[in-house]
């Protein structure tokens, strides 16, 4: 199949997806759980892919994602709350010191940029560390960022540890998908460029990569900054989705959750991260909810079902996947038009050979 046709078909499929979403939004009530899942899924898909860029493609084990999301979310919130609402939001700080608001899209990009700047600064000392030490240092930085944003001396800007709210939000699921698709597209483009090949070389063997003439520090920094930029963007999206934000939401547990999604999807697979984040969100927020409710079938009281059971089942499923499906859903493979095409043609070829099935 030609490269050009492949791109065309991919774009067509994405177009169809948007059309489907548009129709769904017209048909179903706006408050349907499906949209909650789709929005949150899109946000986590983006942050998952950005984390995969680091952990899966560059081999940098970083656990700072929650901190960068916080930066994006706060930048968005602080810059977009309408001036008229500020007195209500910054209730304990006399309306805060920032008395202007900018366009939401600009604020979202500003959030990404701030996260990228922080990543650059943090990266200078931290990226020299190896594997687990890097993980714990980035985790530590995320916690430090969180503490700074909760500091009451910065209250006039950040509203201290209190909720930021009343900022403008986009309601349509199309917006979240559009941002996510564009950003993931950029990351995918990067991974398929010379940079991406350098990243993979670093992941597979740092010393060999260096010997090949790849500038380790430079490439690691680029991966870290780009990943953080998109984490910041997804943080801004999360702020819109949740309609309010608070520093205490961005705990290390959030990073672990994203890491689980990446691993379940397959480390080193962009489409894997996307698929798994939607499945993850749908399971945890929607499909397994019935496990939390006392249920009667006729007079029979279904045992075990009560608040919290959903999470137990969910974590057991995760353990099963981690232990028995080590490669995750996609492994390092990608779900692409070319792949399907190849799969279909190979199947045909196999059938002609004598009907063996492709497993």
């Amino acid at each position: 199949m030609k490269k050009k046709t492949e791109v065309c078909i991919s774009l067509l499929l994405i177009g169809l997806l948007f059309l489907l979403l548009f129709i769904l939004e017209q048909r179903l009530p706006r408050t349907h759980m499906l949209f909650t899942v789709l929005k949150k899924g899109a946000i986590y898909a983006l942050v998952g892919v950005s984390m995969n860029l680091l952990n899966g493609f560059t081999g940098l084990f970083s656990l700072g994602q929650a901190g960068f999301m916080l930066l994006g979310a706060y930048t968005y919130g602080i810059l977009t709350i309408p001036v008229a609402q500020r007195a209500n939001v910054y209730l304990y700080y006399d309306g805060g010191i920032i008395q202007f608001a900018i366009h939401p899209i600009l604020a979202m990009i500003a959030g990404g940029i701030l996260a990228a700047i922080f990543a650059f600064l943090i990266g200078l000392p931290v990226l020299r560390l190896k594997s687990d030490y890097l993980a714990i240092a980035t985790l530590g930085f995320a916690e430090i960022i969180r503490a700074i944003f909760q500091w009451d001396k910065l209250g006039p800007v950040t509203n201290g540890s209190n909720v930021l709210r009343s900022f403008p939000i986009y309601r349509s699921v199309l917006f979240y998908f559009a941002v996510a698709v564009i950003c993931i597209g950029i990351i995918a483009f990067m991974i398929n460029s010379t940079y991406g090949r350098a990243f993979k070389a670093i992941r597979d063997d740092e010393i060999a990569a260096e010997a090949m003439g790849i500038n380790l520090a430079h490439h690691k920094r680029i991966a870290f900054v780009v990943s953080s930029f998109f984490a910041g963007i997804s943080g801004a999206l999360l702020a819109m989705y949740q309609t309010n934000i608070q520093a205490s939401m961005f705990k290390s547990a959030m990073t672990y959750e994203i890491l689980l999604m990446v691993v379940i999807g397959g480390i080193g697979s962009i489409t894997g991260s996307c698929i798994s984040s939607f499945l993850f969100i749908a399971c945890s927020e929607w499909w397994l909810r019935f496990l939390d409710k006392d249920t009667f079938i006729g007079d029979f009281h279904v045992p075990l079902l009560r608040s919290g059971f959903r999470k137990v089942v969910f974590s057991v499923i995760i353990m099963i996947i981690v232990l028995f499906f080590r490669q995750g859903i996609m492994g390092t493979k990608e779900f692409s038009v070319r792949g399907i095409y190849r799969w279909l043609t190979r199947r045909k070829a196999n059938k002609q050979k004598g009907g063996e099935t492709v497993g």
Partner: protein, 391 residues
């Protein structure tokens, strides 16, 4: 092979999900109960829910527009968490409730407020006392007093009863209720000429030793801790261990048997402000005690004994206020209920309920002050404070 098992599992999960969401009923009106059943405020949320359930057991139907509707309570757990709460709220919205009651804890109410507003569903705050819950919106109402009032009551109580000139204020970082009440107490106490030493503790903190040391070192005369009951139990325990002799003051959250159990047999003085005093309405007390003792689940939800918490009374009142609004609206349509709520009045066990026309806050000017009796493990009535007493 593994992939195939995986896909079968996934589709099974999907199918179960579809089945579960396909239950419908006829001639019913749904009231959403948005309360914490776990997390920091789980204990209090369960007691508030009990009040709502008791009210529902007394009045399981309501007459709306000449037709009798069964009232179905749709109870979700917001996990006392500002990030989990909105999803629970979205579930209520998805279920199509006509009105929402809750939540215990102001933070989750503020966090979920926009979800309800988006969906056009009115909410009645039961015991969320932070002003931000109702400020600047037209869909969130509340039947309890507000923190500026509660803070002033506590401040004047501290300065009049104990002659305190210096107060120690300990709040939880990132908890709107705690931060708000601490803020208003500080403001009122300073206005009375007092001095305040304030500190915060982080989420998940269990070590209160150093805070109590600071309170002692600074020579504070009262220890004000507007916190959840979880932290309260730890504070009481630690205060006793370190021999803290100054009175502990707190707001409505501490009016709970968790506190009584923690304080039992210890050398501490605890004073709280609250909405309702057991004995205020003997008929209600008797009924609710019977309800609590009727099943082991209810008893466990109330913390293992049948002490009537003020939040239970408030939950009870909130339910009937919602029924009044439904009757007045003449329809189960959320928008109509929202409109009707502005004019709704109700004589509750905790007092007369009506909403002001600005924010939809209860017009209330009285709070009870109670003291924990460490010998009998019960609350002793101390005083009733009104707006007039503060000025």
């Amino acid at each position: 092979m593994k992939k195939r098992i995986f896909s079968v599992m996934m589709s099974a999960a999907l199918a179960i999900g579809m089945l579960a969401s396909a239950t419908t009923m006829a001639a019913t009106v749904k009231i959403g109960v948005f309360e914490p059943a776990s997390g920091d405020n789980g204990a209090g949320g369960k007691q508030e829910t009990l009040g709502i359930q008791y009210a529902n057991s007394i009045a399981p139907t309501v007459e709306i527009g000449g037709e009798t509707y069964d009232v179905v309570l749709d109870i979700v757990d917001n996990e006392s968490s500002n990030d989990k709460g909105p999803t629970a709220a979205a579930q209520l919205v998805g279920d199509g409730v006509s009105v929402v009651l809750g939540s215990y804890g102001s933070g989750v109410s503020i966090a979920a407020s926009d979800i309800f507003r988006e969906a056009g569903i009115p909410a009645i705050g039961v015991t969320c006392t932070n002003p931000q819950v109702t400020l600047g919106n037209t869909h969130y109402f509340r039947i309890c007093f507000l923190d500026p009032f509660q803070g002033s009551v506590l401040a004047s109580f501290a300065s009049e009863n104990f002659g305190a000139k210096k107060a120690y204020v300990l709040t939880k970082l990132g908890d709107d209720y705690s931060a708000g009440l601490g803020f208003y107490f500080t403001k009122a106490f300073q206005a009375l000429g007092g001095e305040v030493v304030s500190e915060t503790f982080l989420e998940g903190n269990m070590d209160f030793a150093s805070y109590i040391t600071t309170a002692k070192n600074e020579g504070c005369e009262v220890f004000f801790a507007p916190t959840s009951t979880e932290a309260a139990a730890l504070i009481i325990n630690q205060a006793d261990a370190q021999g803290l002799t100054i009175p502990l003051l707190a707001g409505d959250t501490w009016d709970s048997n968790v506190i009584l159990n923690a304080a039992a047999g210890k050398n501490v003085q605890i004073y709280v402000t609250t909405f309702y005093q057991e004995g205020g309405n003997p008929e209600f007390d008797e009924g609710v005690k019977e309800f609590i003792n009727s099943t082991s689940v209810n008893l466990a939800n109330n913390g293992g004994d049948d002490t009537v918490a003020a939040v239970t009374a408030m939950g009870y009142d909130a339910y009937f206020t919602a029924l009044e609004a439904l009757k007045a609206a003449g329809s189960t349509d959320a928008a109509a209920v929202n409109e009707a709520l502005w004019g709704t009045t109700y004589e509750g066990v905790s007092g007369h309920i009506e909403f002001d026309q600005e924010n939809g806050d209860a017009v209330r000017d009285a709070a009870f002050v109670k003291m924990a009796n460490t010998e009998t493990a019960a609350w002793d009535f101390v005083a009733q404070q009104t707006t007039a007493d503060i000025d």
